[in-house]
Symmetry: C2
């Protein structure tokens, strides 16, 4: 009966995938770096892209920067869990690195848009999806203004776009509200989601442990 009882406390449990999406201006990048710094068990899935690196971006850390030819070769090899063309550039989540992280027991953050999220859920229905939004439309407006979106028409267009993005929030498992002066609270919420989801996942192993 005690056969599998070590499972529950074993440090080499398999990791889980946490998908993060957010409209621009929601503070996703800051949240991500705080999460990674605070949680050694958490890793970031570095995407492949054909777009050129921006100043400061490091190959292998922010993205794997590859040529279009190379990317297409990877697609043919079924290298990607999901890939998409956005504004003429290709972006994809590599399968082998993700698999390696998960087997080593790491939880993996994957940052994708709504489309990417849907693709991943198709192949990994156990992946957990989190949508980050700013505190309120007023807050979003303020942030977009801060970024220099001064023209009224442009601002309205961006808000309109944000509304479209936000209408997809209902397809995610969780909604995390990022308050500007309390970014750490959004970080805590995502950490809580990770802990809670392991308590869901444990159900299966828990039963194995006690019923054998």
């Amino acid at each position: 009966m005690v056969q599998n009882s070590r499972n529950l406390s074993s440090p080499i449990r398999r990791g889980m995938v946490f998908i993060i999406s957010a409209p621009s201006g929601a503070g996703k990048t800051t949240i991500r770096s705080l999460l990674l710094r605070r949680n050694p068990r958490l890793a970031f899935s570095v995407s492949h892209t054909t777009r050129p690196p921006r100043p400061g971006e490091k190959n292998g850390k922010d993205y794997h920067f590859v040529s279009r030819e190379e990317f297409l070769k990877l697609i043919r090899r079924r290298f990607f869990l999901e890939w998409a063309e956005i504004h003429g550039e290709l972006y994809g989540t590599g399968r082998p690195a993700l698999e390696k992280l998960l087997s080593s027991g790491k939880d993996v953050l994957v940052e994708v848009d709504f489309q990417g999220q849907a693709e991943i859920k198709k192949f990994l229905p156990e992946a957990v999806s989190i949508f980050i939004i700013p505190e309120s439309p007023a807050e979003l407006k303020k942030r977009l203004r801060k970024r220099g979106t001064e023209k009224k028409t442009e601002l309205l267009a961006r808000l309109e776009w944000a509304k479209v993005e936000l209408s997809k929030a209902k397809y995610y498992d969780y909604l995390v509200v990022n308050k500007e002066r309390k970014i750490i609270s959004a970080v805590h919420q995502i950490e809580a989601i990770i802990t809670a989801e392991h308590c869901r996942e444990k159900k299966v192993r828990g039963l194995i442990s006690f019923q054998s």
Copy 2:
């Protein structure tokens, strides 16, 4: 459009119900008092019972101790969200106190067995259920021994009963493993579940806020 935007950060959000069940020897009572001490937003739903108080138990704190006659009167008045007869005594969760706590924004812990959990879920499908188990069958055995269950036949009977209890774990939303020397870790897990579930619940309000 900004009409409901204060909802997301409003301190008077409605509370949620968290149902806790556990086989004896899982450490439920200690976990409960730690949770209540650490979380002022969390309240305990005090049940009604016809069984006499045990030494140290306080009326209104541990239970509302009532006569059988009184209890039956309350049943007829549809006072209870759920009630059950266990070993000849009646136990029930009162509806008005629970409702009052929820409206005031408190999250409410309700301790019931499997049957009670199923009843509550029928009327409050949004209630979140958590099953607490000890670390392993070996650990459970050790705890039952510590409690003075020395006779081998009795020990085996209790373990058999625990297995039956544990087979119901799969009907709960979450499984929390209580490790003897790390009881605080079980407390943290339940706190994480509460935070995460508010992130699920927020989805609805989040959409109202941004789409109006």
